[in-house]
Amino acid sequence: MTAAGPATDHRADLEARADALLAAHDPATTERQAFLDARYDAGLAWVHVPEGHGGLGLPRALQPVVDDRLGAAGAPDNDPRRNGIGLGMAAPTILAFGTPAQQERLLRPLWTGREIWCQLFSEPGAGSDLAAVATRAVPDPSSGSGGSADRWRVSGQKVWTSSAHLADRALLLARTDPDAPKHRGLTYFALDMRQPGVEVRPLRQLTGEAEFNEVFLTDAVVEDADRLGDVGAGWQVANATLMSERVAIGSGAAREAGMLGVVADAWRTAPSGHRTADAHQRLLRLWVESEALRTTGMRLAQKLAAGAPGPEGSAMKLGFARLAQQLSSLEVELRGDDGLRYDDWTLRRPDQVDMTGRDTGYRYLRAKGNSIEGGTSEVLRNIIAERVLGLPSEHRVDKDVAWKDLPR
């Protein structure tokens, strides 16, 4: 049921552009960054992005045409897993809220991987209630003239920051007006992580490793030119970022990708003594549910090809977390006495997180975070109930009170 006509034309056009890129920059002899820059200039980095910023303004669904063509020719890619937050969250935010100058400056190093991004949102006192962030950004009086500062000074503590120890830049949500109600006093910045006012400490989690960090900001500097959106409009910008995150977390791709594939293979290879009728029934149920979620993701992606992510993506993330937890728990059982073992409790700091990597025990423990990170399942249910189903909002006591007067 593939649409014929325009999509076919785009396909042929993209293949021709990819071939032209390969002809002008032979991957065998071109240095990696130079090739990535040339690909960006050719509009083949991310085809759904507007021309001039690495794209061609085409449907997102056409990206695989380019990726497949270049991959088959042995061209280097931008190693997207290294910069998941940059590509999945920072880029859509910059595209939606950045000025032309910011897009010009930030998007190229982001896509090519020269600059790795992290996200400074959550705080010890602002988890599900993200709008309660207490990290302050204050205009630096020594900068600027005529009452408007060219520079801000940021102080506070952020937590649950993945990649902070590798990152060059951060998406930062900070409070700029404590006298305003909490949702209205926030501003959104792109912070330079490579400066003295930024201290990153590993945060060890229940798996034994430290995949996340705590980030302490002490008079860290951020230029006003790196502000995304208006002063006081940080909440709207942050929401757009979070929607992108939930879609990124929630959407799978191939059948038996992810946790289902691991557990299905565990079933196929398990000693027969571990394969019980009850476990088989549970596996079949989870296989069906995984496939139901996969087709829902396909349908959502077809909707997204036309527009921006909406709150429907929250249901994907909800289902993904539930499935990952049930599947990984079933796997522990299927492994029998191997399920009693754990590979390594040593504190380490992985560069990349693979939820289906390492061993059975790790997968089981890591999946516990799936219903907490990127919006707890409880908050997602509120979002679905209120924004999709139109049910009444939770009773709020903090909406119209100045942030500084809220009980803490």
Partner: protein, 386 residues
């Protein structure tokens, strides 16, 4: 391993303009006639609504959707038929669309039986004479074909034979001296006994059928392939009916809880209920996706059809039951009344989940389809005490 990783990646899962128009037209036609009170009347012996609705469907040309054009049909796709089933379900419409316009029509189409197909396109109703819960041709027990061409045997709980729109022709799988075949039997002929039974879901009326040397017309062609195709299409598209029932239950319940007040506040504002409805929304969205995927796979004759059907049937069946059970519970006392339509949909869901295979039967299909073999308790592999 048959679990292909890129399965069905290019199947379109969103409605196009043609489907949107079809849905709107049918919805209008049903809204005017198919009121809950008239649907419920079938439980009290008045099934006159079914005939009126079937006439309306025939006027819209809907029984012809899956009939090839050369036999007087619309030559439209499975996706359109799925949309019809979805909308019919949302109105709990008591018409034999799935059993006649999908299962029987597809079986006849596989045989290429032109004259009969032309009559079905024009609105005549046919039924495949197999138990309602069967979804695999291998599970069909053929009736006896005698040397004189007559047929004998009994089949219990058949859908689409009796009721307000009784079948004009029965397609009967038989086995005789020359092997398996499909024959056509007319319900009014001598030796044909159709006994309507009181059904859990009276919008899908059942009958027990007994044939005693009934006259039959041989339908040439591969009978097993025809029965298999009919049942496969029925299971693939039946999921859309179940998804439609689930969608009705969710939207009706949400609308009720948005206006129902207790303790001085809107009941839908209680977080315990909001979270239940959010979970139900996720289930119903997934049901819609699996049903559309199965319909698209059937329409495109995609190799993933069997997996798509097993997933859609098992998922949509359970979600339809869950959604309608939640609808009854969350409507409180109202949900238990005869006046409120909740019970009509609850009965459709509970019975519909079994029609064309239970969820467990469809999950069982996956053991071979995607290579998840059941355990073999006799394969110990280690030394035994005895």
């Amino acid at each position: 391993m048959s679990a292909t990783t890129g399965a069905g990646a290019d199947l379109a899962l969103l409605p196009d303009d043609v489907e949107d128009d079809l849905r709107a037209t049918l919805d209008r036609a049903l809204a005017a006639r198919c009121t809950p009170a008239r649907v419920a009347a079938a439980y009290d012996g008045d099934d006159s609504l079914a005939g009126e609705l079937w006439t309306a469907l025939v006027d819209l040309g809907l029984p012809a959707l899956l009939v090839p054009e050369e036999h007087g049909g619309a030559g439209a796709g499975a996706r359109e038929a799925a949309a019809v089933l979805d909308v019919l379900a949302r109105h709990a419409a008591p018409v034999p669309y799935l059993s006649s316009a999908v299962v029987a029509t597809t079986a006849l189409g596989a045989l290429g039986t032109g004259e009969l197909l032309g009559r079905l396109a024009g609105g005549e109703v046919a039924a495949l004479l197999v138990p309602a819960t069967v979804h695999r041709a291998d599970d069909v027990a053929p009736l006896a074909l005698h040397d004189d061409g007559t047929v004998s045997g009994a089949v219990r709980s058949v859908v689409g034979v009796a009721g307000g729109v009784p079948a004009g022709v029965l397609l009967v799988p038989v086995a005789g001296a020359d092997g398996a075949a499909l024959v056509a039997v007319r319900p009014g002929d001598p030796g044909v006994d159709v006994t309507p039974v009181v059904s859990l879901d009276m919008t899908t009326p059942l009958a027990d059928v007994r044939l005693d040397r009934a006259p039959a017309t041989l339908l040439p062609g591969d009978a097993r392939a025809a029965v298999s195709a009919g049942l496969a299409a029925g299971a693939a598209l039946g999921a859309s009916a179940l998804a439609g029932t689930a969608t009705w239950a969710l939207t009706t319940t949400v609308a009720y809880l948005q206006q129902r007040r207790q303790f001085g506040r809107v009941v839908g504002g209680y977080q315990a209920l909001k979270h239940r409805l959010a979970d139900l929304y996720a289930e119903v969205e997934q049901a819609t996706a699996t049903a559309r995927y199965a319909a698209a796979a059937l329409a495109a004759d995609d190799p993933d059809l069997a997996v798509a059907t097993a997933v859609a049937q098992s998922w949509c069946s359970e979600v339809a039951v869950h959604a309608t059970e939640e609808a009854v519970q969350l409507h409180g006392g109202l949900g238990m009344t005869w006046e409120h339509p909740c019970h009509l949909h609850l009965k459709r869901a509970r019975a519909g989940a079994l029609v064309l295979g239970s969820p467990a039967a469809h999950r069982d299909d996956l053991t071979t389809l995607v290579d998840l073999p059941p355990p073999h308790p006799d394969q110990g592999g280690s030394p035994s005490w005895t």
